[in-house]
Symmetry: C2
Subunit: 187 residues, 2 copies
DNA sequence: GCTCTAAAAGGACATTTGTCCCGGTAAAAC
DNA sequence: GTTTTACCGGGACAAATGTCCTTTTAGAGC
């Protein structure tokens, strides 16, 4: 649900930024701001220092599908930087966020020169692969009711922290269906 | 659909195997063989040299969801090796396959010592992230009909090469629904 | 050629989910 | 205080999908 990566954030703030302060900067965005848009060139890698963003993809038919919510330490822009090519999803602040920004070039150099950094990135990537695999499989083979229950268990403040529309977009359903199932469950 | 990674395969067979022939071996499996099972310890990283496998995940309710079909050059076991922990999906040969097998330890050493190899793996991982993201979003926001048409476009030999049950498991639907939509389309 | 088995096909019905739309509520504007 | 606007919830119906089950087909093995 809200993905985090404290180890990566810790390494960046405690070790890296001390050594190479140049070029690595921290930006802030207010709620609702689009930090990275779909189909744009990407020239930085970003790591969230504080706050929560949503990462979503807009389909040709207009629906938005939320891949994940990103919290502290989560990184994005790394896929585009490594593969080249345009961004394939949009990152938007849900509340005020603080973000560490590393120029693509610096990121690539770090990968080559800093073994610890390299390893942290490898682990971050494999994490994404794993949770994506598990989530997709779960999504395709369980009812909406199951999905909601699971979400609420993992993340009890769900309905306090997130808009219903966002929850629906995360589950890949309409708000109408979400409401219906919620009513059925509460009875 | 059938994922490949010719660059990685090429590097392994043309360059790497020459230099470090020890420990890296090629195995063969016949159709239907389980190469890597779910929830097992993983002590090798595998790269497909020839043939096609399916990579699927079995849910608690018994349904199988196929993540991808893997063709030449595709690797697996790398996520478990990097993260530690048990395998989260099952790899099964669809036709006779030939597979290069690298012991986990050797894989980790290569990542540290061989820059080119490291980069190829980083790219392989980001590829997986990207296609998983796009596929999940597409799956959640399009009808079965759309999904089938798209599949057939990407992979015209679909129904010749794969069992209907596998196609259904890849799409996250039942064979019944698959048939129904196929009939509707053909009329 | 015959038998056995596994895969494929599709009918009938139940359930789930989406679509469309209307009425209520609450905050903002005047 | 009244009007306006936007959001939210939910009713009614339609469409999509799953479930269960029976029949058909196609091969493999003998």
């Amino acid at each position: 649900m809200i993905r985090k990566n404290p180890k990566l954030l810790h390494y960046l703030t405690e070790t890296l930024i001390q050594e190479i302060p140049v070029d690595i900067m921290v930006n802030t965005y207010k709620a609702g701001a689009v930090i990275l848009d779909q189909n744009k060139r990407v020239s930085n890698v970003y790591i969230i220092k504080q706050g929560v963003t949503k990462c979503y993809l807009t389909e040709d038919n207009g629906t938005q599908f939320i891949q994940e919510f990103f919290g502290e330490g989560e990184l994005f822009g790394e896929v585009e930087t490594l593969k080249g090519g345009l961004s394939f999803c949009c990152i938007e602040a849900i509340n005020p966020v603080e973000i560490i920004q590393i120029p693509a070039k610096v990121f690539m150099t770090l990968l080559d020169t800093d073994k610890k950094f390299n390893r942290l990135i490898l682990e971050a990537l494999t994490n994404k692969i794993q949770y994506k695999a598990i989530r997709h499989a779960y999504n395709q083979s369980h009812t909406i009711e199951d999905k909601i229950q699971r979400l609420e268990k993992d993340f009890p403040e769900l309905f306090q922290k997130l808009a219903k529309q966002d929850i629906a977009n995360y589950l890949g359903i309409t708000p109408r269906s979400l409401n219906r199932v919620l009513n059925k469950t509460k009875l």
